[in-house]
Symmetry: C3
Amino acid sequence: MTLGEVARLVGGELRGDAAAVIERVAGLEDAGPGSLTFFADKRHAGLLAQTRATAVLVPPDAPPVSTATIVVPHPYVAFVQIVEALHPPRRPGAAVHPTAVVAASASLGPGAFIGPWVVIGERVRIGRDAVLHAGVVVYDDVVIGERFTAHARAVVREGARLGDRVVLHAGAVVGSDGFGYLPLPDGPRAIPQIGGVVLEDDVEIGANATVDRAALGDTVIGRGTKIDNLVMVAHGCQVGPGSLLAAQVGLAGGTVLGRGVMLGGQVGSAGHLTIGDGARVAAKSGISSDLAAGGTYGGIPAVDIRAWRRMTSGWLRLGELLRRVRRLEQGSEGGRGDGGAD
Amino acid sequence: MTLGEVARLVGGELRGDAAAVIERVAGLEDAGPGSLTFFADKRHAGLLAQTRATAVLVPPDAPPVSTATIVVPHPYVAFVQIVEALHPPRRPGAAVHPTAVVAASASLGPGAFIGPWVVIGERVRIGRDAVLHAGVVVYDDVVIGERFTAHARAVVREGARLGDRVVLHAGAVVGSDGFGYLPLPDGPRAIPQIGGVVLEDDVEIGANATVDRAALGDTVIGRGTKIDNLVMVAHGCQVGPGSLLAAQVGLAGGTVLGRGVMLGGQVGSAGHLTIGDGARVAAKSGISSDLAAGGTYGGIPAVDIRAWRRMTSGWLRLGELLRRVRRLEQGSEGGRGDGGAD
Amino acid sequence: MTLGEVARLVGGELRGDAAAVIERVAGLEDAGPGSLTFFADKRHAGLLAQTRATAVLVPPDAPPVSTATIVVPHPYVAFVQIVEALHPPRRPGAAVHPTAVVAASASLGPGAFIGPWVVIGERVRIGRDAVLHAGVVVYDDVVIGERFTAHARAVVREGARLGDRVVLHAGAVVGSDGFGYLPLPDGPRAIPQIGGVVLEDDVEIGANATVDRAALGDTVIGRGTKIDNLVMVAHGCQVGPGSLLAAQVGLAGGTVLGRGVMLGGQVGSAGHLTIGDGARVAAKSGISSDLAAGGTYGGIPAVDIRAWRRMTSGWLRLGELLRRVRRLEQGSEGGRGDGGAD
């Protein structure tokens, strides 16, 4: 790709040699000759000044650079466009591996790639252009839309309903039984988990993550929501569209998330509460009550992030505070003789 | 099922039309005509008042309802009975899929369903009526009791011993090597993990959860204990009977749990400590010392839950406390001229 | 093995009958007649005094024991040597199971054991003496060194590069796509993850753990680093050699760990920060800024472990502190009439 072609593709203004050739893309720190990179974070101005890249995607207000630049409003978005052009997603050609076990009553749309040892159960319906890598197991009565991708060993339990363009990463489990027990005197007794699970269009589930079916009704993951590795979504959760759940997040049963919620890594939420649209929660927080829409939260229990920051800086001053109170007490004791014991 | 039949089955008192037909079960919020639901939590009295369900299982002291009711001592328990009657667990018929690889020296009890791509190693013994879904791998020398259920891709490592009615959910791993290393100057050196792992009767292990074998002796999960998705039980843990470990709990090596212990989601425990019978620990807590039987604990480190609640409310007042101490110091300074610096 | 042989093997001084026979090894608590055990932790002196073991490996300064002893500088290291001698690692004989699907363009070194349902993709190269248990999936273009061990259902995604003696436990996933999205107005848009993943020699990855490929460049796990079950290493992390990551640790994207770093269970780290050589971080901590080499840290956010301990003990005194400040205010109010409101 020449710089001229890059500039045209992203609709940017080229300052440099339109005939120069881009061979690869790289981050600002690693980019060498032949590379295209981008500058999106002002804290990296030092890296930008020293770059040996052939060209840099920059915003209009970027500091001057010695190398070629392409000026665009959103350099990172433009960079992703170029990455996609240079690395178009490869998908295997249509084929059903002879070792796959596909039930006679299952229906597969055209263009499917079905890898070795895949199992597709009775009455399963899968739309066109699916890619099921080796060892994927789809239980009975599952319905899946178009352009489904499942990496090795993903499992979809009976009756799950998946929309179009859903992606399951390796080892993900969708529709496992919810963890529901009656604590009877002779030990916990399982509550039948007869509900379902729905993944809407464009949902992505990370490697070894688990989404349980509901006890009654459905567990629902909304359109375009992306869930990272090792996340747990318990029975009956309703996760709104366009949300991002980072790795190792855990949602207890019946949690309701609005649209565009962002949960940092290892966040946990108690069950049966509501997290409003657009709420953001810092990594490792523990949510124990409803969170209002639009806010940013942190801590265990999660509170407004500014309150959490004040708390954590307050903690560091606890020792000092104890000393100051002791000094006040001694002063007061000297003067009045009734100070508190330490 | 008619309401009369429902009432008979749960031994309840019917107030309504015994001939009315129940077509499905549902939660109080979702239940419409044709549904049976239940009222077990007084906070849902508002939902009860508006219900459109055909009938509601209620306790003797429930507020009056316009719909039919069946009065029982424990509505949720009765509801579970009805769910079980309407949705008897389905199990596949006895069959060994032609693609399964079962060692000649293995023995399988009558009534087994062995799915595609299942692997059963040398000298394995499995009791009657087992259900092994697609891709389950049982290593050599494993002994398993009656009515075993393993969902797709569960793995049982060599020599593990499982009791009757054990359930492994998809992707669970039982008997993986413990994480034990000597920190030698030239890098960590693995300590051979030559112990075993025992799951007693009625144990359930969640999707993608892992239970490691012991370095020496056995890791033991007691009778009737239920372990949720993505839980880690490290080498040498002894988990008592009837305990519940919610999702993403992690127990470090050698942790000892008593009977009927309940750990909330994402709880972590340091190793080689003891958690007494019936102890309950709030979600996300970090256990760093022994916990006495019967208590309720929370926090990092976990303390009595009331102390933890006081601490978290105290945190929120830290800023105020700092201001109050500063004011006291200023007053004291004005009076005596020796106040603390801020 | 006789005690004389044991003493010779570990280079220790035997105090007891050289002809006595050792039949098994056990921990100090469980060791009975016929057992060899070891004493390495002075807190276990009580157990040592009562031991019924046939012999105990002890350090030079151990208290006197009634049973035979073998004096060595490091009893635990010597014990591991004996365990290894009594339990040499078994590996299956060389064989490729007829059900394995190995691409014609793949190359396998001599001595390989390839279990049932293993899938090895195009152009994969694996060195000598590999052991791939049932259901392992290796995608295209993966390069793996000598003496590779992969337990059931481990997955290695396309293009990953693994050194010699790498061990993957059951269900581990190496090279899954990183979690990178542009938050565009119409929903999150995936950023192509075109980078790779490198596991250097002697790396071990725990059961159901996940190591993502980089967006650009490589995710790297350094030589000899051991990673426990259910750990998440996100895209672009650089983990130094000889490090230990305990179960359920999560590293966000771009985290850099030095050599010999030790992270306790459930530790989480924010991305794009640096943890220095030899740093140790207590279980459950949350790392939100760079950590200097050699330190020991704890807490959320992680600080020097001594500061963290002071903070947690300070928390327990918060209620008392509030009371003391109130008393001071009352005193001051009485004297001056201008105290703070509570």
